[in-house]
């Protein structure tokens, strides 16, 4: 089964960084793109304009992905707005709240797990309903090299991202025969607002490629995993990290 022409893909955290790059790349590949934002309506509007200027279709919707009650409505709303079934999902929205495990407060643990892991599960659960019925779907979870690889000071983030990879693998096997694929990408250090502080602390020296990655380099992998070409790829994690985890 190939992607229907009117298929919609939902990209969470699409107002900037990796999410915005994914939204642009997926629109360039023919998806109608719905991107969610929480704190940056300006960034979301700019991403939508970029896509429309390039001849694509996009809409932005405000959504706190940790708001369990808002998820079902959001998935339905973007399908209605863009006039097609939501057959793609990129779980990209993420937060960090770094500290040593010995010092992580419960709040900092909860918000990182809720945003990076639980929200991805809830959105996937909701989106899978339509995908399974349509016999086509693409879910791409934006995990991290942190999780599979240790990074002191990010035990909560590592737990969430490792969990996301485990979720990806198992959920993928459950729906594979319905033409639905679920994969993850695991970015290393990518040049975004979220990593500016890390990159200033000499992290580059540890990367075999000796440079930070660009959001577009992650987006290219997401675009592939969401494409018809990747129809036989499921349950896997594609590392986009300049060799950091090699």
């Amino acid at each position: 089964m190939t992607r229907p022409d009117d298929a919609v893909i939902l990209v969470t955290g699409g107002s900037r960084g990796i999410g915005a790059a994914c939204a642009r790349a997926l629109a360039g590949d023919g998806w109608a793109v719905a991107l969610t934002y929480r704190t940056s309506p300006e960034g979301a509007a700019q991403t939508v304009r970029d896509i429309e200027d390039a001849g694509g279709r996009a809409t932005a919707i405000e959504l706190d992905v940790t708001d369990a009650g808002g998820i079902a409505g959001a998935v339905e709303a973007v399908g209605t707005t863009l006039g097609g079934p939501v057959l793609g999902l990129v779980n990209n929205a993420g937060v960090r709240a770094d500290d040593l495990a010995v010092s992580i407060e419960d709040d900092a643990w909860d918000i990182v797990l809720d945003t990076n892991l639980t929200a991805a599960f809830r959105l996937t659960r909701q989106a899978l309903r339509g995908m399974v019925r349509a016999r086509f779907g693409r879910v791409v979870n934006v995990a991290s090299v942190v999780g599979p690889r240790a990074n002191a000071g990010q035990a909560n983030y590592a737990a969430a991202k490792s969990g996301l990879i485990g979720f990806t693998r198992t959920a993928a096997t459950e729906v594979a025969r319905r033409g639905v694929t679920i994969n993850a990408v695991a970015p290393g250090f990518i040049r975004t607002d979220m990593t500016a502080d890390i990159l200033q602390n000499g992290a580059i020296d540890a990367i075999p490629a000796r440079r930070a990655g660009e959001p577009d380099e992650v987006a290219a992998c997401v675009r592939f995993l969401a494409s018809d070409d990747a129809g036989y790829v499921t349950g896997t994690t594609l590392f986009v990290d300049g060799g950091l985890s090699a």
């Binding site: 399974v132 729906v175 319905r178």
Partner: protein, 82 residues
């Protein structure tokens, strides 16, 4: 949807259509046929629950369908909830 518009015959029709879309062989369809015999698995039952909800407004949770074994069980469950 009100219960007056949901008939057992209509439920049976929707259930058989769903089973056929899952790849089950219509020649083996009967109320007594088990899902195991029809090679209908847990994902199929999850989808059947979704179809029942959309068609008849009957929300079926995972625990509801865990107890059903035959096609007749499924039809009776949906009819009883509609």
């Amino acid at each position: 949807m009100s219960s007056t518009t949901v008939t057992a015959e209509r439920v049976e029709q929707v259930v058989y259509q769903a089973l056929e879309s899952f790849g089950a062989d219509p020649a083996e369809f009967s109320r007594e046929a088990t899902f195991e015999q029809l090679d209908v698995d847990s994902l199929d039952l999850a989808e059947l629950s979704q179809i029942a909800e959309e068609e008849f407004g009957v929300p079926l949770k995972g625990d509801d369908v865990k107890g059903i074994r035959t096609v007749g069980d499924a039809i009776d469950l949906i009819v009883s909830r509609a």
